[in-house]
């Protein structure tokens, strides 16, 4: 199925979970903040969300803190 991550089309297996997506993308889940279909997931409650199954057309933003002024 297709999802959109950071503006890019991604093909992922049906049934992929949020936690599974992080593994697939090799993203360290301790440094990312996830916005899932515009719902921001607090880092402190990440574990409650890892088994959520992604759906066709879902949109995710994966952001992190970077250098800035």
């Amino acid at each position: 199925m297709h999802i959109i991550v950071n503006g890019q089309d991604k093909e992922v297996p049906a049934g992929t979970t949020l936690g599974g997506l992080m593994e697939l993308l090799k993203v360290d889940s301790r440094r990312v903040v996830v916005e899932y279909n515009r719902e921001i997931i607090n880092r402190s409650s990440w574990k409650e969300h890892i088994s959520r199954e992604l759906q066709e057309g879902d949109t995710l933003e994966l952001v992190q803190l970077v250098g800035g002024g």
């Binding site: 993308l25 360290d28 880092r43 803190l65 800035g68 002024g69």
Partner: protein, 256 residues
């Protein structure tokens, strides 16, 4: 003598806040933060590059030592700034937010109307809001009324290193403000930082002038000293400027 900077009830000793952007390497950034003896450091929120994950900034910032001040840089509207602020807070590392609403890439001047609107909303949501603003004292007062814990007026354009356009306007903001005034943007050299502090600013925030210096850690240290000198001068109380000379030696008993 204790001379603490207090922002929203939190105490800080160093009045130089440092940005973490634009350094040639992460190591240079780390060394510069140390040389500045910074306590508050700004960071930005960006999409991860999924094709090249790279190192995390946070591997270079000791969170026991530094207070993170995430910014909303990149936001052109109040709505975008609010989204970035929420994302920054969701990282769970800071509820401070340096609010920037900047629609014009050529000047990077803040949209003060959008900034005021976003300040109101973020304060309601429990954020500790430090808005970047112009040197307009009317807007500064409105931001304070809206619940901003500091106001951060610019000296001149972000990254320009031009120093003060009109220091009298910053003085006016300082005179009227009930919250700390942090001069942000446009400072180029330690004398600019010292001037901000001499005017009575509570702190300054510097990024480009340090990060893009030939020797960033050395510039960071010089900025630290500039801030310290300026603060001491402010506390000491400057003499008034006179139109004419005033002799330093006794005018009586001159040998004739």
């Amino acid at each position: 003598m204790s001379d603490k900077l207090i922002i929203a009830g939190r105490e800080f000793t160093n009045r130089l806040m440092v940005g973490t952007g634009k350094y040639a390497t992460m190591d240079l950034m780390k060394e510069s933060l140390e040389a500045a003896e910074a306590e508050i450091v700004t960071v930005a929120v960006r999409r991860m590059n999924l094709d090249e994950l790279g190192e995390s900034l946070l591997e270079y910032i000791d969170l026991d030592r530094y207070t993170l001040l995430p910014n909303t840089a990149g936001a052109a509207t109040a709505e975008e700034a609010i989204r970035l602020a929420r994302l920054a807070r969701a990282a769970g590392l800071s509820d401070l937010i340096k609010l920037e609403v900047i629609p014009d890439p050529a000047t990077l001047l803040p949209d003060v109307v959008g900034t005021l609107e976003a300040t109101r909303i973020l304060v309601k949501e429990g954020f500790t809001v430090l808005p970047y603003t112009t040197d307009d004292p009317i807007i500064a007062a409105k931001l304070e009324d809206a619940g901003a814990v500091t106001v951060m007026p610019l000296a001149s354009y972000i990254g320009s290193g031009r120093g003060f356009g009109d220091p009298a306007r910053i003085s006016l903001i300082i005179e009227r403000a009930g919250v700390p005034v942090v001069v942000d943007a446009g400072l180029g050299v330690p004398s600019d930082a010292a001037m901000a502090m001499e005017l009575g600013a509570s702190a300054v925030l510097i990024n480009t002038a340090i990060a893009r210096a030939k020797n960033p850690p050395l510039m960071a240290e010089s900025m630290k000293l500039g801030v310290r000198a300026g603060r001491m001068a402010f506390k000491a109380g400057r003499i008034p400027k006179l139109e004419r000379a005033s002799a330093s030696s006794p005018t009586e008993g001159v040998v004739k």
